[in-house]
Amino acid sequence: MIAQRTYTRGVGAPVQSPARRPRLGPTTRARILAAAADLFARDGFDATTVRAIGLGAGVTDAAIYYHFRSKAALLDALLVEPDVAPLLPSVGRFDAAAFTDYVITVFVCWSERPALVHLLMAQGVETSPLAGEFIHSLRDSYRRLLVPALAPWFAIPELIADALSLQVTGALLGALLAHPESFQQVIRRPAFRRRLRTLVDLTMTGAASLRAGESSASA
């Protein structure tokens, strides 16, 4: 127990043989990632030094480089999409309400890591060279998650997935600009989720009316 405490405090943290101690707290790797997400969100990617991340996580620079090749590799590791595949609705017929739930679930998985969402938004506002990659990876990950669920029911699932991700992106950017200091708290509030749900509901209404149009045209 006591050994664990000194370990998490980090001053002169023993770097070797973590396997021998019982894993009570988060792993070194997880702590580095958490510290990096917070600092990137607060200070931006460029202004954050590896040393600052080390201080935040309570580890040495060397420990960081042991786990991650570079600062960019740290960012890549943060951008891993949440695993929501098990939550995919497996309904016999398309159910708009269930799908709305699904989209909200996808979003909530992101918003559980508000520092990361903040980083994505702020970096995008700054249009750094990283930004283009961010938006592509974000759009791809939304498409990967949403298109398979939409494809059996809609002729143009990519378009609907893109419309949904634009609405979510717009709502997040709006929250960042309206509450730049408290963004990370705001996106976790029920009020923000309700707003998101309304927007997703509307989009699904639009998708459904499109489908009605399609079927009446083919009939």
Partner: protein, 212 residues
């Protein structure tokens, strides 16, 4: 210390081009990462010549803030009258196109403002709020018939959220080319398809609700 020296007539153009260059650079890389030399290079001046027109970088910033963060121009207002008799769907597409034209024209200023907001500028924040409210009021005018105020608010809110997400994605994806992309027909066609899904305007108007 105000610069009281009489500036030659054609100097107005130089000053204007300095301000435009500064706006582009501030929008692209931020105020802190832009040097006076960067601005001078972009408009083909020496540092010294630039200081003749604009004494400090701070003054460039202040001028940009007062000039560029303006409310939507009245010009767009005419389009309300022009589309009054169109069906809601066409009216919404006209409003979207007007907003995209505006974004293409003033994108650098908007990006600059967003940067300042995120960096914690209260002035930028209150300006953004005013601008947002003005747009909201303006857009509501497009749909002031046959809708309750609640429906109108929802319609305008979802449309603006869409435009916000769209402009964000376009700048991230296309960077400096975004204003060209925003104006291109191909982009507009796709955006029209997207907005009719994201903002199902027909569903707001009972008469046009799909019969299915």
């Amino acid at each position: 210390m105000p610069l009281m020296k009489a500036v030659p007539r054609r100097g107005d153009d130089t000053r204007g081009s300095i301000l435009r260059a500064a706006l582009d650079l501030f929008g692209d890389r931020g105020y802190e990462c832009t040097t006076v030399r960067n601005i001078a290079e972009r408009c083909g001046l020496t540092d010294a010549a630039l200081y003749y027109y604009v004494p400090t970088q701070q003054e460039i910033l202040e001028t940009l803030i007062s000039d560029q963060w303006r409310l939507p121009p009245g010009m767009i207002g005419d389009q309300v009258a022009a589309t009054r008799n169109l069906p809601p769907r066409e009216r919404m597409l006209a409003l979207l196109d007007a907003a995209l034209d505006e974004l293409a024209a003033t994108g650098a200023a908007l990006r600059f403002m967003r940067r300042c907001v995120v960096a914690g500028s209260l002035e930028a924040r209150s300006h953004r709020r005013r601008q947002w409210r003005a747009w909201e009021q303006f857009a509501s005018g497009f749909f002031d018939d046959a809708l309750t105020s609640g429906q109108r608010r929802l319609l305008v809110d979802s449309l603006f959220t869409f435009i916000q997400g769209l402009s964000f994605s376009a700048w991230m994806e296309h960077g400096a080319r975004a204003s060209v992309v925003l104006r291109s027909q191909r982009f507009r066609d796709r955006v029209h398809d997207l907005v009719l899904i994201a903002v199902p305007v027909a569903a707001f108007f009972n008469a046009e609700r799909p019969s299915a």
